[in-house]
């Protein structure tokens, strides 16, 4: 196995999001999340979303009231198989939470495309987009099969900061933690990549 393959495998391993590695009922929670009814609007919609949000790592520890408030500002999006959810090099404007289906994270385009990870519900991605840091993405996200997502826009988070600062603070802390972990993984992956490349050059 070449060092490039090793690196790809490691990246997949590192970027695969686990909602709660220590929990024994992870599979049951994922299953429940995948088959929750998708009400279009109203109180039932918010109740259903709040129940789903309880399973998302990013919103762990939030009370039911907070999750209901959060549900009010989330947007539901449905994507067809192969449709891009977000594309490389564009700035992010929203955080996405996978509710149903599977998405793949890839880097590059066409023949040079490198698959990086597969995400399953209730994973989240693109936290930097909701924070509005203005960084352009280094990866694309594509639906593999029909996918349902929840999106939290930057303006929605801003509104939350203004209206419910305590709730927004909890979410922001979790997002910062998530971003820190991702950054560390990227640095580790880059370091491993450099080490692998120097090994290959050596006779």
């Amino acid at each position: 196995m070449s060092s490039t393959d090793k690196l790809r495998g490691l990246k997949r391993l590192l970027l695969r999001q686990r909602s709660d590695p220590g929990s024994s009922d992870l599979a049951a929670r994922r299953l429940r999340a995948m088959y929750l009814p998708l009400e279009s609007r109203g109180k039932e919609r918010n109740e259903s979303l709040a129940e789903f949000l309880a399973q998302v790592t990013l919103f762990e520890g939030l009370g039911r009231g907070d999750r209901l408030r959060l549900a009010r500002v989330l947007h539901e999006r449905d994507f067809a198989d192969g449709e891009y959810i977000c594309k490389e090099h564009a700035p992010g404007a929203a955080l996405f939470i996978l509710r149903r289906g599977i998405v793949e994270i890839v880097s590059g385009e066409g023949a040079g495309e490198v698959p990086l990870a597969l995400l399953e519900p209730p994973a989240s991605f693109e936290e930097a987009g909701a924070l509005g840091v203005g960084v352009r993405r280094w990866f694309s996200v594509r639906a593999r099969g029909p996918v349902s997502l929840l999106a939290l826009g930057r303006s929605d988070l801003d509104a939350l900061i203004g209206s419910f600062p305590e709730l927004a603070n909890k979410v922001l802390v979790r997002m910062a933690g998530m971003l820190a972990v991702r950054l560390q993984m990227r640095i580790d992956a880059e370091a491993l990549g450099s080490a692998g490349a120097s090994e290959e050059v050596e006779p």
């Binding site: 609007r41 009010r72 500002v73 947007h75 539901e76 999006r77 994507f79 449709e83 891009y84 959810i85 977000c86 594309k87 090099h89 564009a90 700035p91 992010g92 404007a93 929203a94 987009g129 999106a151 826009g153 930057r154 303006s155 929605d156 801003d158 203004g162 209206s163 419910f164 305590e166």
Partner: protein, 424 residues
């Protein structure tokens, strides 16, 4: 390949035609429903302003419905208190008649003195020769509104009788003023060649008196939409935004979110900025009028009126000038903090105070308080306000600047984000 190549321009043409038709329909709808624009916009803007208050109440554990109810109660109480305080200072019917007689007398007297007019109102000084073509019609129209009808004159005379304990009619100063007013009107009407006698010496009834009851009904039913929109928007917890974004294709979702955020920011900045500027201008007018000798309650009323009028471009200055001058024409025994203000030069001081307030607004408040919230060229403001007034009347004038601000941000932000996301 050939078919695909031909289909693309056809599709573009079709898209263009559909877009043009949609624009035309929207334009027709706007024109047809223009009487609803002002109440709907005011309801919407009020909801936009009050939304953070409801959110704050909700944060303290009050349910949203209850929070909206509490806000409505508070607003209702404030409106009732304002109405009762306005009614307290509003003159009664007879007092209003007396006020109109005094104002008209004072206006005619001061105009005659300023223009050096002879008793026949035909010859005056150089100032009169320079301005009479513009000022005479204006004075005529103001006189039309203020002059008493025959019936009102009888009411006034009867009230003076009752005031004198039912005795013979006293020749008090007010009735003398009214006689002078009637004579002046007659002289000026004769001069203008108009046959005032044809209406028995009574001028045309004013705007409010001409307004038919049915028109008032239509006005009320039109304004019913304002509280409905206010309540509906205040109650909404994001359904409207979500509904709008649901109609957007997936590839445009993120740009649409970013554009909406920019528009929200621009509208919020504008409303906060204009509210601060109105408060600053109203407070300045209040303080300056107080300094030149306007009593506190009148200075406060004129300051509040000026601040509210400032929501319409350039109307703050006009409102302050008109209301300040109206007061100064009526004022007697002026007690000013400035020693050289007298009854005679009081109107000049009031005008000076209004001009200073306007200069402060232009030099300090607009750049500092309003700041970068509205980056519009002054010409765009003037053309927008006049264009809005021409098309939609007062509603257009009131909404011109926020609409221009939003459209400007919408276009710029859409173009920027479509480019950033590689969609154009």
């Amino acid at each position: 390949m050939t078919r695909e190549g031909g289909a693309e321009p056809l599709s573009a043409v079709l898209t263009g035609v559909v877009a043009a038709a949609a624009l035309a329909v929207v334009g027709c709808l706007l024109w047809g429903l223009r009487s609803l624009i002002l109440p709907a916009s005011i309801g919407g803007l009020l909801a936009y302003v009050c939304r953070p208050i409801v959110d704050r109440l909700e944060r303290y554990g009050i349910q949203r419905g209850l929070a909206v109810g509490v806000l409505l109660l508070v607003l209702g109480a404030v409106a009732l208190a304002s109405l009762s305080s306005i009614r307290a200072v509003m003159p009664s019917q007879i007092e209003a008649l007396e006020l109109r007689v005094r104002v008209l007398y004072s206006l005619n007297h001061r105009y005659q003195a300023l223009m050096g007019l002879d008793p026949s109102w035909t010859r005056g000084n150089r100032l009169y020769q320079l301005l009479n073509r513009d000022l005479d019609p204006l004075l005529d129209r103001v006189s039309e509104v203020l002059a008493l009808t025959g019936e009102e004159r009888a009411q006034l005379a009867a009230s003076r009788d009752r005031g004198a304990g039912g005795g013979p009619a006293p020749l008090d100063r007010l009735l003398a003023y009214e006689r002078v007013n009637a004579q002046t009107l007659e002289v000026r009407a004769r001069r203008a060649g108009a046959a005032v006698q044809a209406t028995g010496g009574s001028p045309e009834p004013g705007f409010l008196r001409r307004m038919a009851p049915s028109a008032v009904g239509v006005l009320l039913s039109t304004w019913m939409i304002a509280p409905l929109i206010f309540l509906f928007l205040l109650w909404d917890t994001g359904n409207i935004k979500r509904g709008l974004l649901r109609a957007v294709p997936n590839r445009l979702f993120e740009p649409a979110l970013a554009v909406l955020a920019d528009v929200d920011q621009a509208l919020g900045d504008y409303l906060r900025g204009i509210a601060r500027e109105c408060c600053a201008l109203g407070a300045t007018v209040f303080v300056l009028l107080l300094l030149v000798g306007v009593p506190p309650q009148w200075a406060l009323a004129i300051g509040t009126f000026t601040g509210l009028s400032n929501l319409i471009p350039y109307m703050g200055f006009v409102a302050a000038l008109v209301s300040g001058l109206a007061y100064s024409l009526l004022a007697k025994d002026v007690n000013s903090l400035i020693p050289f203000v007298t009854d005679e030069n009081f109107p000049i001081w009031v005008v000076a105070a209004v001009v200073v307030a306007e200069l402060l607004k232009n030099a300090v408040y607009e750049p500092v308080v309003l700041g970068s919230a509205v980056k519009l060229h002054p010409l765009a403001v003037v053309v927008g306000a006049l264009g809005g007034a021409t098309l939609f009347g007062p509603a257009g004038m009131f909404l011109a600047i926020p609409v221009i601000t939003v459209v400007k941000v919408l276009v710029a932000s859409t173009a920027r984000h479509l480019s950033v996301y590689g969609l154009v």
